[in-house]
């Protein structure tokens, strides 16, 4: 069971905790231990930064061939979201009619079930997005 591998990322998966390099101001999601731009200048200068959870769709696809975990939800909208703070991430857009998904749609993050490791395994929760309107 990949319990620890997901538990370790709870802060980011539940609360969109990113990192911010105080040397150059750049944000990273998921959080990093040093800034990919400043490199050594950023050591000891990284801080936690909570994303607000709002952004817009940068691109999307309606997925018909799904992984086992998402069989129940196909076809589903998978999108890359450009968060208002500038960082981009990848997640499902739910509570949205397939035909309403479009580039530029404003969305906000919610907590949803991502997967479970079998009927006797841990349940993984994380971010998905719903239309803001």
């Amino acid at each position: 069971m990949a319990t620890a591998r997901f538990w370790r990322e709870n802060a980011s998966m539940y609360n969109l905790i990113a990192s911010r390099c105080t040397a150059c101001g750049a944000l990273q999601f998921p959080p990093r231990t040093f800034c990919p731009v400043c490199h050594r200048r950023s050591l000891g200068k990284m801080e936690r930064f909570k994303l607000k959870g709002e952004g817009e769709i940068y691109s999307f696809s309606i997925v018909h061939e799904a992984t086992a975990d998402l069989e129940m939800q196909k076809p589903y909208v998978l999108a890359m979201m450009r968060m208002d703070e500038g960082v981009m991430l990848t997640a499902q857009v739910v509570d949205c009619k397939l035909e309403d998904a479009k580039i530029g749609l404003r969305v906000r993050a919610v907590l949803r079930l991502l997967s479970e490791e079998g009927p006797d395994g841990v349940i993984h929760y994380g971010y998905k997005f719903v239309p803001l309107a």
Binding site: R5, F6, E9, P30, Y58, S59, F60, S61, I62, V63, H64, E65, A66, T67, A68, L70, P75, Y76, L78, A79, M80, M88, L89, T90, A91, Q92, I103, L114, S115, H124, G126, Y127, K128
Partner: protein, 388 residues
């Protein structure tokens, strides 16, 4: 650094090779290449094997040792190394072999690539391929490997006004080329309509926009240029071997319609070969998805960004066009046994440059370029070959 030549090539047919195991396909290609180079086992200094995921496909790691053993090289305790970079495993293995010979470390090196994908059910095969992306931050959240490319396609259409039809033309063209290649997995031409009406995988990409699951292996023999003519009358020189990396996750890029690693690797390769894109009229690029070929021909510098779709629709990348792209049939029609693909691309280029490509021969082919991609462009390897 000395010049390196390819003195032998070999490959299996690509497809669902039910009767052949991983080790069988590996040695079939390897033996063919060694035979083509008229070598004996004791002549070989080292073996490099490109393979993405034997550990999950056939529950076997340590595959370089396996191939060395079953191809008889364990007798001489020949060093064997497995190289992995998802879809770029083959091209990267070639690069390692090239560096070994160019540096003087080894004189004769065999580079092979092999993948046995059909011993697992489709669902598992898809999941294994998903690990070329960012498992923790893309796949966990619902991304599949095709869906990432589908998002590229949608953004590409949005940014450049390219049409769905233009993207689909890549598959039509590659099947046309594949119909001329007796080793291709698919040897039937298809119509644009077939591509457009195919079952959806991840919109806008359908079944015919995606390369198949395949079994297969390919191999080449490398030798220093100065000794090459001892083995072959038609040595093909590796004019450039270049590589670049980019973010693992697609969402880490500022623009998803450009593979910066292709641009960087191409720039490095052209510089090493002292050539420019306009000199290349033959290329094997990584069309695991139709959209990937459009990005490739643009990022390699053959066509302006955003115009790859039109160029394809206009026939510029057909045999006889401005640059014949994927004369083998590409990943789409030739097949895509992941670790083998990068080596198979080079096998095709060598075949063309030797003038042995039969019905799919590109006239007066002087140079050839191979572009091999790992993941959504996290690794790109570019080789440029030329007639010696």
């Amino acid at each position: 650094m000395r010049e390196v030549a390819i003195i032998g090539i070999g490959d299996t047919k690509f497809g669902e090779l039910w009767d052949m195991s991983f080790r069988q396909i590996g040695i079939q290609a390897g033996l063919a290449a060694v035979h083509d180079a008229k070598l004996r086992a004791e002549d070989i200094d080292a073996l490099y094997v490109g393979n993405m995921s034997a550990g999950r496909f056939i529950e076997q790691e340590h595959v370089a040792a396996l191939i060395a053993d079953y191809s008889g090289m364990a007798r001489d305790f020949t060093p064997a190394t497995r190289v992995e970079a998802a879809g770029a495993s083959g091209g990267l293995a070639l690069r390692q072999g090239y560096m070994a010979v160019a540096s003087g470390m080894h004189d004769i090196v065999v580079v092979g690539g092999a993948e046995k994908m059909t011993d697992v059910p489709d669902g598992l095969s898809n999941d294994i391929q998903n690990s070329a992306a960012d498992r923790q931050w893309e796949c966990t959240f619902g991304a599949t490997f095709p869906s990432l490319h589908a998002m590229i396609a949608r953004r590409y259409m949005h940014q450049y006004g390219a049409t769905r039809e233009q993207i689909a033309q890549v598959a039509v063209k590659n099947h046309k080329h594949g119909s001329l290649n007796p080793k291709a997995q698919f040897q039937k031409e298809i119509t644009l309509d077939t591509v457009l009406k195919a079952p959806m995988v991840a919109e806008p990409l359908g079944m015919f926009d995606c390369a198949p699951n395949s079994d297969g292996a390919a191999a080449v023999v490398l030798c220093s240029m100065e000794k090459a003519r001892n083995y072959t009358d038609v040595p093909i020189k590796i004019l450039a071997s270049a590589q670049a990396s980019d973010t693992l996750a697609l969402h880490g890029r500022p623009d998803i319609c450009t593979f910066r690693a292709t641009q960087a690797a191409a720039q490095r390769a052209f510089k090493q070969a002292r050539l420019e894109p306009k000199h290349i009229h033959l290329a094997e690029v990584h069309d695991n998805f139709t959209i990937s070929e459009l990005l490739a021909v643009e990022d390699l510098g053959f066509f302006a960004k955003g115009s790859g779709g039109k160029a394809t629709a206009d026939g510029q990348t057909l045999i006889g066009g401005q640059v014949a792209v994927n004369t083998s049939g590409g990943l789409k029609a030739r097949g895509d046994p992941i670790g083998a693909t990068g080596v198979a691309q080079v096998v095709e280029l060598v075949t063309q440059l030797r003038g042995q490509a039969g019905k799919r021969q590109v006239a007066d082919a002087k140079y050839g370029l191979a572009q091999n991609v790992g993941g959504t462009g996290g690794t790109v390897v570019v080789h440029i070959l030329g007639v010696a």
